[in-house]
């Protein structure tokens, strides 16, 4: 085993451990031990079994799927938990991404300022940017929720769709805000000095020596850790929330609004709160995305990539089930990415049908995802994992099988 593979193993361990905790059955203590063992084993095995390019692809795939899983969890806290039909995921995603970019980039100066404009650039650290992204998206969600959340479900769907489009128009047309139609470049990656040749100055020389064979292209190995940690935090928080009295109250408001109101619950407040929580998570997702792709523009936040596909993920995984939301994100992103290879392989066949078809093959993926959603709606609207309806661990006879 070469040193580069060993270094990659070190980076793979933590995400695999978290994955193990998520999927393994059993009691908590047993699960931790099992997950530790399996993660260590797999982290060693993966670099040996796969060639380096494949492994890098796998890791960047997981990073992107993890980002989508954050969005899918955010949507779950709105739709799954509280029944808001938010067709405007893209809007909050965009607000989060651009906010974090503005807070962490450097204000362009001199000749660069003529090409690149932005409202401000504060050079704050990554985590502050992420939190600010969440806060700003939450504020936007709060402002929107006041007029809109009183509406019927169908109006809410139309209104949120409109909000996302308006937000995209703003980022497209306001040059002073975030460089308008031009991409906003140079969004810093946290700790990217780990992979540069003179490594970070604060790094002990042993660690620098250990990481030295890794090139900047391997940065995604580190970012996977960042994404999986944030995903884990969001997941645990949402799991706690959905089992808390507040979460039960939300589900009561969702299922029986009138009787919840009759029992003295402030229905409007709860609905607004849940919408704001979801917006915060989507904003965080946007920030994580922005720092991963480094350069963002308005076109990233179109209804397909940022709203539609997230809904497909949540519907496939299981509305109301946080684990399902994550599984759905990985599954749909897998279909989406796998379809690219499939279409590449099929391009000679496509050529036979029409000369234009291979160059338009990308749109076959749209079709595939749309078909997937149609099939889910028709044949399995509850998704892979159903919502856990269990109310309390202490209630006798409540097996959660309901």
């Amino acid at each position: 085993m070469q040193q580069i593979d060993l270094a990659r193993t070190a980076f793979l361990f933590l995400p695999l451990f978290l994955l193990g905790l998520l999927v393994l059955p059993g009691r908590a203590a047993l699960r931790i031990v099992l997950a530790l063992a399996i993660a260590a084993l797999v982290a060693f095995a993966l670099p040996l079994m796969l060639d380096r390019g494949t492994l890098t692809y796998l890791v960047s795939f997981s990073t992107m799927a993890g980002i989508y899983a954050i969005l899918s969890l955010g949507l779950n806290s709105q739709w799954g938990l509280a029944g808001h039909v938010n067709f405007g995921v893209a809007g909050f995603f965009a607000v989060g991404a651009f906010t974090s970019a503005l807070f962490t980039t450097t204000m362009p100066e001199g000749a660069l300022a003529a090409y690149s404009q932005q409202a401000f650039g504060l050079q704050w650290p990554f985590l502050v940017g992420v939190v600010m992204a969440g806060i700003l998206a939450a504020i936007v969600g709060f402002l929107i929720s006041i007029p809109v959340l009183r509406l019927r479900t169908d109006f809410l769907a139309i209104a949120t769709l409109g909000i996302a489009e308006v937000i995209r128009f703003i980022f497209q047309n306001e040059r002073w805000l975030a460089n308008g139609p031009q991409p906003m470049r140079g969004i810093p990656r946290p700790f990217d000095c780990l992979f540069k040749d003179p490594a970070c100055s604060w790094l002990p020389s042993g660690a620098a020596e250990f990481l030295s064979p890794l090139s900047p292209r391997d940065y995604v190995f580190f970012y996977l850790i960042v994404v999986s940690l944030i995903l884990a935090v969001v997941f645990i928080a949402l799991e706690r929330i959905s089992r808390s009295p507040w979460g039960r109250m939300l589900r009561a408001v969702r299922d029986e609004e009138n009787s919840a109101a009759m029992n003295g619950k402030n229905v409007t407040r709860r609905r607004i709160e849940s919408f704001v929580v979801g917006s915060f998570i989507m904003g965080v997702g946007g920030a994580v995305y922005a720092h991963y792709v480094v350069s963002i523009d308005y076109s990233h936040f179109n209804p397909l990539f940022a709203t539609f596909i997230v809904w497909v993920m949540l519907m496939l995984g299981g509305s109301g089930n946080n684990k399902g939301a994550i599984i759905g994100a990985f599954a749909v992103w897998g279909v989406w990415s796998g379809a690219a290879f499939m279409i590449d392989a099929a391009s000679p066949a496509l050529q036979l049908i029409s000369d234009d078809l291979p160059s338009r093959g990308a749109y076959l993926r749209w079709m595939l995802v749309a078909l997937l959603l149609g099939l889910i709606v028709l044949y399995r609207p509850q998704g892979i994992l159903k919502e856990r309806k269990k109310v309390s661990d202490f209630m006798p006879g409540d097996t959660g099988k309901d």
């Binding site: 039909v85 007029p147 409109g162 539609f308 809904w311 749209w366 749309a370 959603l373 028709l378």
Partner: protein, 358 residues
């Protein structure tokens, strides 16, 4: 839901008026008259803003007339949307794609037709109109096929509104991917490079003959739809089904046939809207999606299920979009229609001509 309770309460309170002055004021603000006044004031404010930004009176007049024309295009789409919304009770997010299919279908059929002479002063020939008429039943078939495969099973299962909305979103992306696959993502024109000079009219108004034609065609089709809905058996059955599907079925109306007729009518009008929109600007796969927001705004402003309301709403939206371009970036046009929609939803979600539900 709470909205119904609120309106029910208002009805009771009208008989025994023991409301406080504040409550009465809120109720007055939520009336249709107030909504109509608010919309009128918005338009006046738009003209004022445009004037302040240096647009001349004739500029504003031209913009207003263009707005009425844009309203005609939006109305052609919105009538179908509001009928489907009224009869099937869900927002059909795939309606914009029917508009796009209309434009692209006509484009393809025109290629098979012999190119006729230009009908001066318009910029198009007979083949455009012929293509449009041929495309109408084809797109109606597409709409019926989508309904049969997707929406009918959901109807049979009595699925929730959200599933219908999700299904229509899926249909929207599916149909758009078909457009991308068949016609590609490049912009296309019915008549590339053909000059289309503005007519010289009194008051310095600049209008192309095509724009007048768009408005005229929209008016004729809207009038035909109106006659269909108010005079024919099928039209009456449609309105009855929209009003109360169960009762309509009990009274011997074949609701499935009514639904099929609704789709066919809505799709045909959408084709006309798409062709007119393509003639006024260009053909691109996203054209229907861009029209979707203004169409929904018109539907909600007019009141769901009301074709008359959809027309009025569409014209207000059209004027607001065009006039607003005199003082803000024209790219925000759909945003303007969205803001108007939110105003309507907050003041009076039933819209200008909507029927009270239940």
């Amino acid at each position: 839901m709470s909205m119904h309770d609120a309106t029910g309460d208002a009805a009771v309170a009208r008989r025994v008026d023991d409301r406080s002055a504040g409550e009465r004021m809120v109720a007055a603000l939520r009336s249709r008259t107030a909504l109509a006044i608010a919309l009128a004031l918005t338009l006046v404010a738009f003209w004022g803003l445009g004037y302040r930004e240096g647009a001349s009176g004739s500029d504003l007049l031209s913009l207003t007339i263009w707005g009425v024309m844009l309203g005609g295009i939006i109305a052609l789409g919105a009538i179908g949307l509001t009928l489907v919304y009224g009869v099937l009770k869900f927002p059909n997010f795939a309606h914009g794609e029917l508009v796009s299919f209309g434009a692209y279908g006509t484009f393809t059929i025109m290629a098979f037709l012999p190119a006729g002479a230009i009908l001066r002063p318009f910029s198009f020939g007979w083949e455009l109109l012929a293509g449009m008429v041929v495309t109408m039943p084809l797109v109606a078939l597409i709409a019926l096929a989508v309904d049969r495969v997707l929406f009918r099973p959901l109807r049979v299962r009595d699925a929730s509104l959200v599933l219908f909305a999700m299904a229509s979103l899926a249909a929207s992306f599916f149909l758009r991917s078909v457009i991308y696959l068949v016609w590609g993502s490049d912009f296309m024109f019915f008549y590339p490079g053909r000059s289309n000079p503005a007519l010289s009219l009194p008051l310095d108004i600049r209008i192309q003959a095509d724009q007048l034609f768009v408005f005229l065609l929209a008016a004729i089709l809207v009038a035909l739809t109106w006659i269909l809905l108010s005079r024919t058996r099928m039209g009456k059955a449609m309105r009855a089904t929209a009003n109360n599907p169960d009762l309509a079925q009990v009274r011997g109306i074949n609701t499935e046939r009514v639904i099929a007729a609704t789709w066919a009518l809505g799709a045909s009008l959408a084709v006309a809207g798409g062709v007119m929109y393509g003639l006024a600007s260009q053909l691109r796969p996203e054209m229907g999606w861009f029209l979707l927001l203004p169409m929904f705004a018109a539907v909600i402003m007019g009141g769901i299920g009301s074709p008359m309301g959809a027309i009025v709403g569409a014209i207000i939206i059209g004027i607001a979009q065009q006039v607003s371009s005199s003082f803000i970036n024209p790219a925000y046009g759909p945003g303007v229609s969205f803001i108007l929609m939110v105003v309507v939803l907050v003041l009076q979600p039933m819209g200008l001509f909507g029927q009270k539900e239940d």
